[in-house]
Symmetry: C2
Subunit: 139 residues, 2 copies
């Protein structure tokens, strides 16, 4: 048994090109691929990780705030540094929500700010010098 | 068309619990799930992202160095901070290789160091205060 504050995955090379499969012991296994053919690329997975972490925070906070959410999506765009390493220098997350009213917009902004400033485990694992921007669109 | 130095994904809430699906436009779509049931969790995906990015660097460098690799895996363990946010404070990547000889060990160490210090786009997107450790096992 691993302590509750540890997370573990195992990644195995498929032997073909630069493609891999992996995941947690006994958990969901996915492909990862430098070409994005048999799985997402490492840099796409990083955006998936960040977006989903903030999405979980925001949905939980909105539920506690009694803001109705029917549909929810995040469009994430990361801009990489020119040259090597091609790390992300800026990331924009565009939140799209169906359900909240105009009167709920301040609560949505507050939920995003709480995730950004206090709760999001993935965001706080990233370099704090990355420029992060957030937009909200009610649909 | 987006510039070549940008990466994009779209994440959509499934509407059930805190489960999502998403990926790049026209690319591989995966699940993400706060419970790890229908997809990996955000913090597991972050370890997948880091491990695969370093794996790609290391395999490319070893190929250029003419080090034979038959099997390759990484076991990644991340330790989260107690409390909120539960960010990673340390990450250990255990490299497992079949194929290289004892004489190749220095080349493996050098490949890992080059990825760590120069090439890995994901590692250089993370907070530099995270303690990262690397082990190598020939099998």
């Amino acid at each position: 048994m691993s302590p509750s504050n540890t997370r573990q995955i195992r990644l195995t090379w498929t032997g073909e090109g630069l493609a891999f499969r992996g995941g947690p012991d006994g958990g969901v296994q996915i492909g990862v691929d430098s070409d994005g053919e048999t799985g997402q690329t490492p840099m796409q997975l990083l955006l998936m990780s960040l977006s989903s972490c903030m999405a979980i925070d925001v949905l939980m906070i909105l539920e506690k705030s009694r803001v109705p959410v029917e549909q929810f999506a995040i469009e994430a765009v990361g801009v990489r540094a020119d040259g090597v390493p091609g790390r992300y220098v800026s990331i924009t997350l565009g939140y799209e929500l169906t359900g909240p009213s105009e009167a709920d917009v301040a609560k949505i902004d507050r939920a995003i700010a709480l995730s950004r400033d206090k709760y999001c485990s993935v965001l706080h694992t990233l370099n704090p010098d990355i420029e992060c921007a957030f937009t909200v669109e009610r649909r």
